[in-house]
Symmetry: D2
Subunit: 371 residues, 4 copies
C-alpha cells in the first residue's frame, strides 16, 4: 500500500469538491471511493457533479462511479472517510461509519459539541485528539469521529490562540463578512447578493459564540473544560466568492503592548508547522502591515488557502486591540481543516490500527508525546 | 419671491448631484446657482457633469452655466449655499462664504469639530443650532456655517439617540459595511471591489469614534459638552452601490428589557417629524422584525432615503444588545442631511435675516421655543 | 364601479410582484384578487411573498388573503386577470380562465406562438388584437388570452419596428447581456454570477429568433403572416440586477443614411403614445448620443421602466448599422408589457363586454378605427 | 549564463505585474531589470508597485531597485526587453530600445499595424517573424520590435485560425464581454460597474476589426497581404475580474458540417504546441460540450491562462455557425502573448545574435525551417 485509501462522503457538494481537489495529489492519501446521494450513486462522478471550482475536475476521478453513502458500500474499499455531509445526514450517518470501524474526519456541525467528540484545529488544540479513546470506549465504536469547527470559527480561533496563550482573553467581539461559497450550491440567490448584502446566516452566530470556548478549552479528566471568556458575533453575507473577513476587538486579561501582540501573532508556530504536515501552511498566521489588507481576492489563497491573514492591528479606544482577519472558507475553513486533522491523527498514531503506516511512502510518524 | 434661492458649491461631484436631485422639486428652495471648479465654470452643467444617479438630470439645470465657486460670483444670486466641497476646499472657502454673508449648510468634514460650528442632525440635537450666534459673534461673520456629520455617523447616531436618552450609553461597538458611492467618483477602482472588499477607509473610523460624542453632547454656556461614552469603530468598503450597513453592539447605563429597547426605537419622534419638515422621513427610525433585514438594495430608499432602518435587535452575550442598521449614504448620509438642517434652520428662524420668509409659499415658521 | 377589478395569477413571484407594484396606483385598474399556489392560498399576501423589489409592499395588499389560482376562486371577484404564471401552469390554466369568461393578459410564453393568440406590443402591432375575435370563435371561449413577448424580444422589437417600417429588415444579429432578475427567484445561484457570467439561458435564443417575426408580421385573413427576415441571437446572463442590454447589427432592405436611421428612431411614435395610455412612455424610444450609453444602472428606469433606450448607433463594417439597446426586463419586459396590452385593449373596446366602461373614472375610450 | 536576462518596461502596471509573475520561474528567462516611470525609479519594486494579483510578489523581485525606462539604464544589464508600456510611451520608447540593440517583445498597440513590425500569435502566424529582418534593414536597427495583438483579438483569432485554414472566413460578427482588469489600474470606477456594464471601450472595436486581418494575412515579398474577410465588433465592459468572453458568428467560404467544424477546432495544433514551448498550452483550443460553458470564473485559467476555450458551437440561422469563446485577458491576452512570442523567437533563432544560446540550460533550438 503506497497511500491510505480514503472515501469522501457528500463528494458532489461544494465542500466535497474541495476534498477531491485537495486530495488529488496528496502525498499520504488517495481517493478510493466517492460517495453521494441516492440520486448520484451508480453514475460517473464527472456526470453528476456540478463542478464549481476554478481548477478542472482531476482526471482520475472523472469516471469514478459514485458509491452509496453507507458503511456497507465502503467496507473494504477504504481505510477512513472524510465527511462533507450536510448536518442532518451527518448526525445519522457519521456514527454508523464510526461504529462500522471507520475513522471519520468530519466538516459537519452535527457532532462538534458532543462532549466526547474532538473538535480540533491542529494549531490550536491537537491534544484534544485524545478524546478519541474516550469516545471509542464510551460508545463502543471501533472507528471514531473527529470534527473541525465552522469556517468562521477556524480562522478566528487561529488568530486568538496565540493571544489567549500569551495574554488571556476576556472579551471578543467579532463581525464577519462571509463569502457566498460558504452557503453551498445553489446557496444564496443572485438577486439577494448583487448590489446587496445579507446581515444574517442561520445558526452561524451561535456557532461562533460557542465553538471557540471548546477549542481553547482544557482537556481534564477525559473531558474538555471550556475556556472562560465572552464572545459576541454578528455575521453578514457579502458578494465575494471565497474568503471570509472578520473584524475583531479583544479585551485581554493581562496588559500587552501593541508590539508584544504583533510579535505574538507574527512568531506563532503550531504543531502542524513543527511537524511539517503536508497541508500545514508556513506560517499559520500572516501578519500584514499595509493599512488596507487583508482583502479576500488578494489574500484568501495565502498558504495555499490554509493560512489566516491578520491585518490592521491597532489599539482599540474601548477595549484593548482590534484587527481584521481573513481566511479561505472552503479550504482552511472546511475541507482543508478535516484534511489537516487527518494528517495530524495519522502522524500522532491514532490511525495505527486502521492503516499499515510502515508501508506508507513519504510518511514520517511522530509519537504523540512529541507534542 | 416664491422660494429661497440657493447655490450649490461643488455641484458636479456625486454629493453635489444629490443636492441637485433633491432640490429639483423642493417646496421651499430653488436652485439659483451651481458652482464648480475652474475647469467647469462658464460651461453648461449638463456638459461638465459626469452624472451618476439613476434619475435623469433635472431639465431645468441642464443648461445652467456653472459659476465659479467664490462668494463674489454668487453675491446677489442666492440667499444661502449648500456645500458639497471636498474637505480641503471647504476649509478654505466655507469661512469666506460665511464672512461674505452667506448661510452655509455644509456636508464637508472640515469644520465639523470646531467648537463654535454646529454639527447637527435635526432629530438628534436641533438645539445646537444656537451655536450659530456664538459663531457669528466670535468670528465676526454676517453669515454662518452649519455642518452635518459623516455618512456613517448620521445613521448610527439616529439609532443611538433614543437609546441614549432613555437608558444612557456606556459602550458602543460599530462595524460598518459601506457602499462605494461613499468614496465619490471615480472613487474605488473596480479591481479593488469586484469579488472583494477593503477593510479600510482613510479617516473614517476616527470620525465615527468622535462625531457622535459632539452630536449627543449638551449645549452649556455657549459650547458643547461632549457625551461621555466610548465608541469603537471598524470600517469596510463592500461591493454595494448605495447604502451603508452597520453592525452595532451597545452597553447601556441602565437596565432595559428587549421590549423596552424595541419600543424606544419604534416610537421615536424627532423634531423634524413633529415639525413636518418637507424632507423629514416619517418615521425617522424603521424597526424591522424579519431575521434578515435590513438589506441595502431593499431598504436604502426607505423614507425616500432619509430613514434609518434597524433590524435584528437581540440580546448580546457580552454587553447588552446588538442590532444592525442601514441607511442611504448619499441621501440622508450627505445631501439630505444638509438639506434637512437648512429646513430646520429656516423653520426655527435662523434664516430670517437672509430671507423674506413672509413671501415664501408653502412655508410655516415655527419659533425655536417650540422645540 | 370606479375601476376595473383585476386578478393577478402567480402573484407571489417576481413578475407577480411587479404587477402588484405597477397596479398599486393605477388610474383604471385596481387589484381585487391575488392568486397563488396551493402553498400560499388562504394566507395573507404579506406573509407568503418573498418581496424582492426595492419599494415596499403596497399597504393595501399586505393583508389581502391569497386566493387559489382557479377560475372558480376568482369568479365574480374580478373582471379580468393578469397572468404571471410559469409556462407549464400557464399552458393549463390560462385556457381555463379564458373559457370561464375572463380576459387574460399573460406574460407567459406558453400560448404566444399559437396562431389565434395575439402576441402584442402596443407600439408595434396593436392591430393584432383583432385575433381575439378569431380566438373566441375558434375555441368557443367567452373570454380570451392576449400575450406579450419575452423580455429580450420586447425591447429588441421596439427598436426594430420603426426601422422595419421605414427601410425593411433583412438580417438582424443580436447578442444579449441579461439581468439576473429575468431568471426569477431564487433563479441564478450567486456562485454562478459573482465575478462571472453565463453564456446560456435555456430556450431564450429560440424565443428571440422566432417571436419578432410574428410581432412584425401582417394580419391577413384572420392569421398573422410572419415577417420575412433572419435573426441570429446569442444570450448571456450577467451580474446586473435589472435591465437587459442588447448589441444589435442590422442589414436593411433599402439604403438609409445614418441620420435617416437616427431620425427614424428619434421620432418614433406608437399608438400608446398617441392614445396617451397611462403606462405608455413618452417617447417609447430614447436615442442617446453619448459614446458610453445606455447602461443598465443609469437607463433601465427611463420612462418609468417602460422606454427602450438606444445608443451607439453607428455604421457597421459588415452589414449596415449597429447599435446597443437597453430596457427594464421586469417592467417593460414583463408586467408592464401585459399592463400596456390591457390598457390598449380597454381603450380599443375589447373589454366592453366585460367591463362597464361608462362607469370608469379617468378613462377615455378610443374606437379601434382610430388606430 | 544559465538564462536569458530580460528587462520589463512598465513593470509596475497590471500587465507589468503579469510579466513579473510569469517570468518568476521561467526555464529560459530571468528578470534582470524592472524599469518604471520617473516616480518609481530608484525605489524598491515592492514599495512602489500596487500589486493586484492574487499570488504574492515573487520574493526575488521585491527588493529589486526599479530602473529608469531608458536604453541607457538597461544597457549591459539584459539581453532583451518585454514592454508593458502604455501606448503613448511605447510609440516613443520602443524604437529607441530597438535602435539601441534590444529585441523588444511588446504588448503595446503603438506599432502593431506598422507594415514592417511583426504582429504575431505563435499558433497563428509564426512565419511573420521574418519581418524582423525587413524591419532591421529598413530602419537600420540592431534590435527589433515584435508585437502581439489586443487581448480580445488574440483569443478570437486563436479560434478563427483553424476555421480560416480549413474553410475560409467570409464574415465574422463578434460581441465581447470584457473583464475589468483589461482597463488597467485604477481603470474602471466601481460606481460604473457594480450592478452595471458599459457598452463601450475606446478604440477597442477598431482594433478587433483590423488586427485579425494582418494576423491571418499572408507574408509576400517582405510585407503582409491582409486576409480578406469582414469583421464587425461590439464591445462591453462587464463586472468580471479576469477573462474576456466573446460571442461569435461566422460565415465560411466553403460548406462545412457541424462535426467538421468541431473536429477542426478540437484537433488544432499550432507551432508552439509542436515545439513544446514552455508557456504553450496543450491544447491551444479547448472545445467544451456543456451547454453553459465557457464561463470566466471557471475557464479563464485553462491551460494556465494560455488556452482559448470555445463552447456552444451550433448552427446559426442567418450565417453558418455561432459559438462563444473565452480566454484570460492579462495572461494569454497580454503578458503571456509577448512571452510566447519571445519563446518562439528564441527557438527559431531570431535571438542568436543577442544571446549565447549554447550556454542556456533547458533550451532546445529548432531551426526556423522546421515550421
Amino acid at each position: 500500500m503506497g497511500k491510505v485509501r480514503v472515501g469522501i462522503l457528500g463528494a458532489t457538494g461544494p465542500v466535497g469538491q474541495r476534498f477531491v481537489q485537495m486530495l488529488a495529489n496528496h502525498p499520504w492519501f488517495e481517493i478510493a471511493v466517492l460517495a453521494g446521494s441516492e440520486r448520484s450513486a451508480g453514475k460517473a462522478y464527472g456526470e453528476v457533479v456540478h463542478w464549481i471550482l476554478d481548477t478542472p475536475i482531476p482526471p482520475e476521478v472523472k469516471d469514478m462511479v459514485v458509491a452509496a453513502g453507507t458503511p456497507d458500500a465502503l467496507q473494504g474499499r477504504c481505510e477512513m472517510v472524510f465527511s462533507a455531509l450536510p448536518s442532518g445526514a451527518a448526525r445519522e450517518l457519521e456514527p454508523q461509519f464510526a461504529a462500522a470501524g471507520f475513522p471519520v474526519f468530519s466538516n459537519a456541525s452535527a457532532l462538534r459539541m458532543e462532549p466526547d467528540v474532538p473538535l480540533v484545529i491542529p494549531e490550536v488544540n491537537p491534544e484534544h485528539l485524545a478524546l478519541i479513546r474516550v469516545q471509542q470506549e464510551r460508545r463502543g465504536w471501533k472507528g471514531f469521529v473527529v470534527t473541525n469547527p465552522n469556517c468562521s470559527t477556524i480562522h478566528l480561533v487561529c488568530a486568538l490562540k496565540p493571544l489567549h496563550d500569551a495574554f488571556g482573553l476576556e472579551q471578543v467581539f467579532v463581525t464577519t463578512l462571509q463569502a457566498v461559497s460558504g452557503a453551498g450550491y445553489p446557496g444564496v440567490a443572485s438577486l439577494d447578493i448583487v448590489d446587496n448584502l445579507i446581515p444574517y446566516i442561520p445558526g452561524e452566530e451561535e456557532k461562533i459564540e460557542r465553538e471557540p470556548l471548546k477549542l481553547l478549552g482544557t482537556l481534564v479528566h477525559q473531558h474538555v473544560e471550556p475556556a472562560r471568556f465572552a464572545i459576541s458575533a454578528a455575521v453578514h453575507r457579502v458578494p465575494v466568492v471565497d474568503g471570509h473577513t472578520e473584524a475583531v476587538v479583544v479585551k485581554l486579561r493581562t496588559r500587552a503592548s501593541l508590539e508584544e501582540v504583533a510579535h505574538t501573532l507574527r512568531t506563532f508556530q503550531g504543531v502542524p508547522q513543527r511537524l511539517g504536515l503536508p497541508t500545514a501552511p508556513q506560517p499559520a498566521i500572516i501578519l500584514r502591515e499595509e493599512p488596507d489588507r487583508p482583502q479576500p481576492r488578494l489574500d484568501r489563497n495565502a498558504g495555499n488557502g490554509m493560512a489566516t491573514t491578520v491585518g490592521r492591528l491597532r489599539p482599540d479606544p474601548v477595549l484593548d486591540y482590534k484587527f481584521v482577519l481573513l481566511g479561505h472558507n472552503t479550504v482552511r475553513g472546511a475541507a482543508g481543516a478535516s484534511l489537516l486533522n487527518a494528517e495530524l491523527a495519522l502522524t500522532l498514531g491514532y490511525l495505527d490500527e486502521f492503516v499499515d503506516t510502515a508501508s506508507l511512502e513519504a510518511f514520517q510518524p511522530h509519537p504523540a508525546t512529541t507534542l
